[in-house]
Symmetry: C2
Subunit: 290 residues, 2 copies
Amino acid sequence: MLLLKLFLFFSFFSSTFSHDLHPLPRPLIIQYPEGIETHFHEFDDELKSQCTSWRFAVEANNLSPWKTIPEECLGYVKDYMTGRGYEMDLERVSKEAGVYANTLELSGDGKYVWIFDIDETLLSNLPYYVEHGYGLEIFDPIEFDKWVQRGTAPAIEPSLQLYEKVLDLGFKIFLLTGRNEQHRSITIENLTKAGFRRWDKLILRNAFSYPAGIVVTDVNRGLIPVTIVLCRGREHHGKLATVFKSEKRSEMVEEGYRILGNSGDQWSDLPGAAASSRSFKLLNPMYYIP
Amino acid sequence: MLLLKLFLFFSFFSSTFSHDLHPLPRPLIIQYPEGIETHFHEFDDELKSQCTSWRFAVEANNLSPWKTIPEECLGYVKDYMTGRGYEMDLERVSKEAGVYANTLELSGDGKYVWIFDIDETLLSNLPYYVEHGYGLEIFDPIEFDKWVQRGTAPAIEPSLQLYEKVLDLGFKIFLLTGRNEQHRSITIENLTKAGFRRWDKLILRNAFSYPAGIVVTDVNRGLIPVTIVLCRGREHHGKLATVFKSEKRSEMVEEGYRILGNSGDQWSDLPGAAASSRSFKLLNPMYYIP
């Protein structure tokens, strides 16, 4: 957009001079064609509407798996993530979940569970994404792992409030994350530092020997063909996040737990086998995990 | 908002005169406090952001069942529904669904199904809602039934395009709607008139003897307590839409069909038992059916 404006600016600038037959320089008055500002606004509005529409498609789970945000929506996503919009949406989903949690009557058997995802649900990686194009750069698992190892991701405050509430109401809290076991201790350290004071289970993906980011498909081990799909670095342990999380929820149900609430920023956190009675989708226009 | 602006306008107007000690009328120059226009814009922007946030919560399925749109969002919803926003979103979801449909390889056994809901999916009741507050009025099943009986609901054009495409690709088309059997013939007439040229099943809800709109709960019939929850008029036959539609999908699967696509404007159309491989949520900020 900025480039377009600059381009138009210099086009008019040069045309002012190129058609100039006066021997002396004319005063530097750049005459925009009538209505050019209006056109800019219309273009901005149209682009904003298109990006909003794209974001609705993301949040309603209508899109096929996508790897980066649309290039033209970079400014839009940046404004949303760093402005009031994201904050407002996080507050709303936390509040809605809290209202629902309050309506539930838990018997004393300690088997009522609220599941939380971690990244972009309890902890914010926005400081990382600010440095990496708000989802416009292809995900770099090595760089991202370095960020995770710093253990400095801040809490998503509205989620922390919900967390405190469901703890106080007597829920068991299970953290179910696509992070892998090699990040267990730094994840505990980061969560604790960010104010998440206790949980009942922290379920990470099993460590796997493939380096993050390598994509291996149709590996044939002896007589057994094995298909390993390595997706985003943090989801790279042989199965899709949606399968991994469904399996883990099913195990909880088999152990006699009742999953009444589930908060996550990805659709792969929420539906599927042993889905929670209610799910809460935190908004995330920066990346997609299948 | 308009009232507020008028109120402020007349407040400044009257204060201009009430403090006037001049014997003759001063020229009518109304001096707004500095920045008043900016404040109006900020207020508008904040309200717009709040309503957008609410709409995201609707489309991400984060809200508890709701009966009307938020009063303060009436203008916002009206602008969205009658402006470019709704149209753009409908086009996007149709396009996404079409791209997905194209990737599917159907064998020749004729057992591949695409499910479509009807209201706000194939047919638009917007002409009705324009007259009934865009979802601000409490749903009136008797009035709505009169509208349905007119049989004049127009096609949602992007859905018609998708419909044609999946027909051409060889899908069986099953229409699964919360409309009840008493509207079968007018529904067929309306669909045909709107351009939907053929389908393989049209599944409506069984006619039920309770008049539309009556709410009966905890009816005790002899020794068996029966709870009947009558929801919106069109969904009033003893069970929630989400249960009815899940049951019907399960029957399809039992009959050997494979549900590969499902388009609906309500979350009660989409997840649950025998969910489709991919679901497409058309946007609808006007009403909610549980």
